[in-house]
Structures are given as structure tokens and as C-alpha cells.
Symmetry: none
Subunit: 133 residues, 4 copies
DNA sequence: GTGGTCTAGACCACA
DNA sequence: GTGGTCTAGACCACT
């Protein structure tokens, strides 16, 4: 019975983390995309329903959605809803690899300045992968 | 004498992380101490040189040093410099993992918003690891 | 005497245009950049001062600035101010031309569907250039 | 008979312009009439075909057609189609220029935010004009 | 019903 | 002083 409701997105906020609510929402959507729990064209919860769900002000949800729209992560249609954008596919493999290289390098060096080794990092990411699955 | 300056600390700041610069500096020093990359009595860069290095306001570096002095992590000797004091820095595995988690999640999110999956990311990092080895 | 105050940015809003205030602000900044009236590293008016100036709510100005920050047009530093970003220079000539080509083509086809010819468009843009100078 | 279908109307929508789709359609039809690209009695695409073409909801096309019918610009014949009526569309130079101004400014802004100057833009468009000639 | 815009005002963190 | 976050609530436009 609970079987057909796999992959359902569950948002949750941690008020103590210090991370702004709207950023937590963005992070969770982005993580869901990276995990394939959200894919092209899928609809996000409506602004109001998510606001009720998380017990926060609709403006805060709207802000998160708005920022994602600017970044091209989602598309929004007046009076219809907000959907995962599908335009990100337009990149060729070379460009993709370039971008991944860039952000990876910057991530590794950042982690490095905190004393983490590449191995540690990879192990950690693999753990995250396990959790989700 | 100055010849064996191995283990040189490399500071790096991420303006987009939302974490204030002064906190990023403190964290990196703490991690370095916990890692033994910095030990008792070692000198930190001067406020000015680090400010130039990181291209930020000297006040910001000063604030970081100040706060560390208050916490007893470093000692400042007027006219001489700032040195690691002998106070133990408690940096347990949990705290370390928190930091790694934070920067990892932000990295995954960024990659995710470009359409990369977690698997792709891990594979890429592993490739990098191979190259270096 | 008025000679040294050339290039000063003057913001103005048209409430009747139907264009949201925050978008009008963004448009004016972008136009100013295209006209070289604003260049790399220059500081924008503070959120509060511009709000007073335009007699609108500071949140509205903040929203405009925020959106420009997300798009990479400006950089903002806590407690310091908002500045025209300087990272846009990192593009090589080829990439630049590609982008210009893309947005130009889309503009021309859009104008075309309203019945404007390329000549008309160019003449119009030249007129705009005259006005500003 | 169907052979001389020159002057075919090309609709194009810009979701990012903020102008509602139905208004964009009306504007484009009006401009075409003023330009004589559409004349008395000519048939518009069916609601469904245009909706498919533009990848939008048929309701949105219907709304545009509806509003044009109310204004007397087109006439709908049940089961046959929608046709340009003989009402004159007042589309003076001022209104034309307004539209051109709007889309031009938005284009310049976009280019400006990529660091292109107005001069560069004009030069590029002139080059395109040369190529075609 | 959907999202978009704007105001007003509070509180916080950084310099 | 600067910008950042969040709330509450109003009003509008699109479907």
C-alpha cells in the first residue's frame, strides 16, 4: 500500500540550524534533483500548501521558488503552478564536464582548507547516497 | 630557519556560503589545530598579511583573531604576532562531520541544479583521485 | 561644476507602466551597465537610501538587488553595500560571441513576430544610444 | 490555392517577459493587421492548432481569440473558424514604438548584464544584416 | 484555485 | 551604518 508512494518529497525545516528557511527549501529541492527523486517537469507543491505544511509564511516559500526560477531550476506558470525546469538538458557533454570540474575543484579545495582529504569526502558522499536509497 | 615551512595553512573563503568571513577563519584554524597542522606556539599570519591574502578588510581578520583569543585558542603578543596557545581545541568527530556535511550538501545541491546526479559526482571525484595517485 | 558629476545614475519609476518596481530597477541598472554609466566594482545606492529616493518600501529595493545578486550582476557584502560584479569578464571571446548571438537571434525573431524589420530595430537602438549620450 | 500562403504569421511567445501569453497573441495579431500581413476575412489558426504550436493551454489561445472578438477585431464562426473582421485596428506610430521600445530595452538589459555595451550590440546586429544581404 | 507584487514592521548579523 | 530574514496581510492577474 505504501508501496506506490515512493519517491515522495518530504520537506522539513530545522529552525535551529541557522540556515534560512528559504535556503533549506532550495537545498532540499536541489538534493532531490541530484537524487532523481524529482525529475523534469514534475510539479512542486503549491506555495500555499507547502507553507501550511511547513507552518511558515507563504512569502518565504515563494521566495525560495522565486530564487529557483531565477536560477533556472524551476519554471513557473501563472495560475498553474511551479515545475522542475527541463532546459538543463541543452548542454553538451563537454560543457557539462567542464562545469562539474569547476565546481568539484572549488569544493575539494574548500574541504581541503578544513583538513578533509579527498578519500574522506568520497566516503562521506557515498554514505549520503546510502541514506537516501 | 624559515626553510621548513611545510604544512603551511591555506585559508580560503567562500563568500557565497553565507558563513561570515570571520567565522570561516576561526573554523579553519580550529580544524587545523585539531588536525595537528597547527601546534602550540606556532605563529599565525599577521592580521594585515592575511587580510591582503584573502582580499578582505583587516578588521574582519582582527575580529576572528580577537574571538579566538577570547576563547583561549590563540594568544596575541603586542608587536610580535599571534600564536597558537596550548588550550586544547575540542573538535570531536561529530563536529567535523557536521562541517563536512554542510559543505558537501551545498556542493551536491549546486551540482544537482546543473542536473548532475549524486552518482555522477562521486564517480567524477573518484576519477580525480585516480589521476593524482 | 556640474561637470564632474557626469554619469550619475538617476533612478526613476513609472507606476503606470505596469512593470513591477523591482523589475524597473533591475532594468535601469542593466541599461546603465550596457551604457557604461556603471562599471565593475561601482557601488549602488544603499537599499534604504534608494527606497527613500524612490519613495517605495525598502523591501522592494532589496528584492531587486537580491535578484541581481542571484543573476551575478552585482555582489553584496554584509554591512558594506552592493557593488557591480566584476566576474563577468571571465568569459573568453568565443563564448561571449555565442551568447550575444543567441540572445540577438531570439530578440530579432521576437521583434519579427511584431512586424519589425532588422533595419527598424537597428535604427531604434541607435536612437536610444543618442539619447543617453 | 493554398499555394500562395506567403506572409504566414509566425507567433512567438516569451514566457520571461512577464506579458501574459494571451496578450502577446493579441498584440501580434493586431500588429499583423496594421502591417497588412493579415487582412479582411483571412483565417487565423484554429485554437487547438495554435495551442499545439505554441505549446500552451488551448484555454489561453481561446481567451485571446475571445477578447479579440469582443473588441471586434476578429469574428468567430461556429464550427468554421476565426476570421479577421473589417474593423480597423488603430495602431499608430506611437504604439508601435512603445512595443519596440519595450522589447528593445529588455534585450539591451539582458545583453548589458552579460557585459555587452550598446555599441557592441548595434555593431553585431549590423553584421547580421550584412550577412543576409 | 494558482503565483506575483507591494507594504509595514520586527529582529538579527556584520562592519 | 550596512544587508538578510521572516511575518502578516492586502490586492492583482491568470486558469
Amino acid at each position: 500500500m505504501a508501496e506506490l508512494e515512493l519517491k515522495k518529497l518530504e520537506f522539513s525545516l530545522d529552525p535551529k540550524s541557522g540556515v534560512p528557511f528559504y535556503k533549506q527549501i532550495i537545498l532540499q529541492v536541489e538534493m532531490a534533483i541530484a537524487d532523481k527523486r524529482l525529475t523534469n517537469g514534475e510539479q512542486l507543491p503549491t506555495v500555499r500548501s507547502l507553507a501550511v505544511d511547513l507552518k511558515i509564511n507563504p512569502n518565504t516559500v515563494a521566495r525560495a521558488y522565486n530564487e529557483m526560477e531565477i536560477r533556472g531550476i524551476v519554471m513557473t506558470q501563472q495560475g498553474t503552478g511551479t515545475f522542475i525546469s527541463d532546459k538543463k538538458v541543452e548542454m553538451d557533454a563537454v560543457k557539462r564536464e567542464q562545469i562539474l570540474g569547476e565546481i568539484s575543484r572549488s569544493f575539494i579545495s574548500k574541504a581541503g582548507s578544513y583538513g578533509f582529504t579527498l578519500e574522506e569526502i568520497i566516503r562521506y558522499l557515498q554514505d549520503i547516497g546510502q541514506e537516501v536509497t
